[in-house]
């Protein structure tokens, strides 16, 4: 998994498959990385590196098999390498805990897809003002400061509101899934 080894680009017909798979599953790969590297920018950098290696090693992937599992393996080694390189600067956990978290993500993968879909419905249920706060916090180039500024809150109040809203959304998503499994 050496990112620096120059490999030729995939053949044109496989390139189309690659483009489809890689775009279809970016969020899942990002989510996997982010669970171990909870800084957005660090996770984005690792995602970019992972994408690069996926492109270079795509000839090793067997079409029809589980692309996300394969891509997450690529990502795992990137996160692991980053952990060794930057110690705890990027990856917050020790190796054992990182492995345990990675395994939990893998186990919960189908559920996490459902949760992602349910979150869209829960976001719609939020008060527009709260929804705006959350989305400003998470939009590209956004952050808590920007969210506080735009909503007219103090920074401290914005942190607290965001914590409360995340818990609200987490509970809402769980509730949605319970309702759907019961129906």
């Amino acid at each position: 998994m050496n990112p620096q080894s120059p490999s030729p680009a995939p053949e044109p017909d496989r390139s189309k498959e690659l483009l489809l798979l890689i775009t279809q599953h970016q969020r899942r790969i990002f989510s996997y990385i982010y669970s171990m590297v909870p800084d957005r920018h660090d996770a984005e950098d690792l995602l970019q590196e992972t994408n690069r290696i996926i492109c270079e090693k795509f000839d090793q992937f067997t079409l029809g098999t589980d692309f996300v599992a394969w891509a997450c393996q690529v990502a795992y080694w990137q996160v692991r390498a980053a952990r060794q390189k930057f110690a705890r600067a990027k990856v917050v956990f020790d190796q054992d805990l990182m492995d345990a978290v990675a395994q939990t993500v893998e186990e919960l993968r189908p559920e996490l897809d459902l949760r992602h879909e349910a979150l869209a419905r829960c976001l719609q249920k939020l008060h527009p003002r709260d929804r705006e706060l959350v989305l400003t916090r998470y939009e590209p180039g956004g952050g808590v400061e920007e969210a506080a500024k735009r909503s007219g809150r103090s920074l401290d109040a914005a942190y607290k509101a965001l914590g409360r809203l995340r818990k609200l959304l987490l509970d809402c998503v769980s509730h949605q899934l319970d309702l759907e499994s019961a129906s």
């Binding site: 669970s35 805990l97 180039g141 914590g163 995340r166 987490l170």
Partner: protein, 535 residues
């Protein structure tokens, strides 16, 4: 886990997400997660929720009505971390970009702007009187804009390179950089080979140019007459039932009349043609051209000479990093600079023009076997002094952004990827025009020309927030700014730099016209004002 433990874990997750955990809190989080499967599941769900929120927020920002013209232009971080919906939208949007639709006019005769994307410019005029706002020579026209000329002559250059002279009274709606709807009046179109495919529509006929010069007289009743002066055009008229008729090819010196219900011969053909062909003495507003040119033909020691015109002399020599005894190879014109992935050069950056417009042009050769990891910037620049945002021109090594190997231009967080792969070991001419919107300087039009042909045009939102952190930018780059050749320090350390060859780099302080870009490509010099008039 009991309720207090869940609340504690939730607070720790929040702290982790916001980067505010103390060491003690981190240790507590480690302890909780190491000791409990349930805690780990809670943690993973909480983190996945945040990851999903990044995705939804990016998607909604891209869909926001405040960004109507950015659908084909993905904000940089979105494209990098994209969720599936947006990524696919990106792929589809990039592959199937449809020009903005022509919008109905609200006030007959008014010059109405419906889109933000510029598609053409007024390049010359003579005794023009317009209905609505009077455009100045050099002014851009937007997609969907309706031009109503009551008298005089106006030369309109489309971004694809097609040049249309309108003679008033005339009415022309601009659809895109490649097409227009001609209601009535007289026009003559000159279409260089790079703009083959340029289209003029009319209720009676559609003309697709095959590389030529043609004239058209359109009557208010819907009939139109087409005269081919040079080359050939494809014309699709209407039959007696007003259905599209068979496409015919009109060749040099041929003419045809198209009405709403059929076609026929042109009456008084020679007189009309003579009138259409008469020479017009235009008033041109050619701006002052300041530029810097690095030819890479000679290098002394660790320096390549930069020649500037219009700026204070000297100061633009490029310094090699590291210094190489012989970085020059045979180029497209004389010698060229060869990059091995580790070598780069830097130079002072020319000051910007009052309007902030720029054109960057160069020849590049990228090996067919270039690895994706070698897709670092061919050139990049940033100027803290002038407030210009970081710019890089590279080939695309990220399939989530668009066609692999195609030209990628980044401006702040906005970017545009072309469609033609460059990794073929051949020389290609690249020109990128940067034209900030005078009404909204944070938005910039990018027009990319590959081998003289318009490849991509788009609106880029260059708003940059936290870009230093986001990009992991090189501290020196941030502090000093400047022009980098063969690398992009704004991106932070990359595994490999650019591998390939570069020749005849020009940075010009105005938006070159397609004709000027084609001249630069063919002659390796900018045309003089006299040359442009003579052409």
């Amino acid at each position: 886990m009991n309720d207090p433990e869940i609340l504690e874990l939730n607070a720790l997750c929040n702290g982790l997400i916001e980067g505010s955990l103390s060491d003690e809190q981190k240790r507590r989080l480690d302890s909780l997660l190491s000791g409990s499967d349930e805690a780990r599941r809670f943690y993973v769900r909480a983190m996945a929720l945040s990851a999903s929120l990044f995705d939804y927020a990016a998607e909604m920002q891209a869909d926001a009505p405040s960004a109507p013209a950015t659908r084909a232009t993905l904000p940089f971080p979105i494209a990098r971390i994209v969720g599936p919906a947006l990524a696919l939208a990106a792929a589809v949007a990039l592959a199937l970009w449809i020009p903005p639709k022509f919008a109905p006019r609200t006030e007959p005769g008014s010059a109405e702007t419906v889109g933000e994307e510029t598609v053409a410019r007024l390049t010359a005029s003579k005794d023009c009187k317009w209905i609505g706002t009077t455009p100045l020579v050099g002014e851009w026209f937007n997609a969907g804009q309706k031009l109503q000329l009551t008298e005089g002559f106006a030369e309109i250059t489309f971004d694809c390179g097609a040049q249309v002279v309108l003679e008033g009274p005339a009415s022309l709606d601009l659809h895109s950089a490649w097409s227009a709807l001609f209601h009535h009046g007289a026009l003559t179109a000159k279409v260089p080979p790079e703009a083959i495919g340029f289209r003029i529509e009319n209720p009676a006929v559609q003309i697709v140019d095959l590389g030529t010069e043609f004239s058209m007289l359109a009557e208010k009743n819907g009939a139109a007459e087409v005269f081919v002066i040079e080359g050939s055009v494809e014309a699709s008229g209407r039959d007696a039932l007003n259905q599209p008729s068979k496409t015919i090819t009109l060749k040099e010196k041929q003419a045809r009349r198209f009405a709403l219900h059929g076609e026929g011969e042109v009456a008084d053909r020679d007189q009309k043609l003579a009138k259409l062909n008469r020479k017009v003495e235009f008033q041109r507003g050619l701006g002052k051209t300041e530029y810097t040119h690095w030819g890479f033909d000679e290098a002394s020691g660790a320096i390549a000479r930069g020649r500037s015109v219009g700026f204070a002399p000297g100061g633009f020599d490029a310094t090699f990093e590291p210094a190489l005894p012989q970085p020059l190879v045979a180029g497209r014109w004389g010698n060229a600079l060869s990059f091995d992935g580790a070598f780069s050069a830097r130079a002072a950056f020319p000051p910007k023009s009052p309007s902030g417009t720029r054109t960057a042009a160069f020849w590049c050769k990228i090996p067919a076997d270039a690895a994706l990891s070698e897709s670092d910037a061919i050139i990049s620049w940033y100027s803290a002094e002038t407030g210009e945002r970081p710019v890089s021109i590279a080939w695309n090594g990220d399939p989530t952004l668009g066609a692999l190997g195609a030209l990628k231009t980044s401006l702040g967080r906005g970017l545009k990827v072309g469609s033609t792969p460059l990794r073929d070991g051949q020389w290609h001419h690249v020109a990128v025009v940067f034209a900030p919107n005078p009404d909204a300087p944070a938005r910039t039009h990018l027009k990319t020309y590959l081998d003289g042909r318009l490849e991509a045009t788009s609106f880029v939102r260059g708003a940059v927030k936290n870009w230093k952190k986001a990009g992991g930018a090189d501290a020196r780059f941030v502090a000093e700014g400047g022009l980098w050749i063969g690398r992009n320090p704004f991106q932070g350390p990359q595994p490999n730099g650019f591998r390939g060859e570069l020749d005849e780099l020009y940075l010009i302080n105005r938006a070159l016209s397609p004709r000027e870009i084609q001249h630069l490509l063919r002659k390796n010099r900018l045309p003089s004002a006299e040359m442009l008039v003579a052409q």
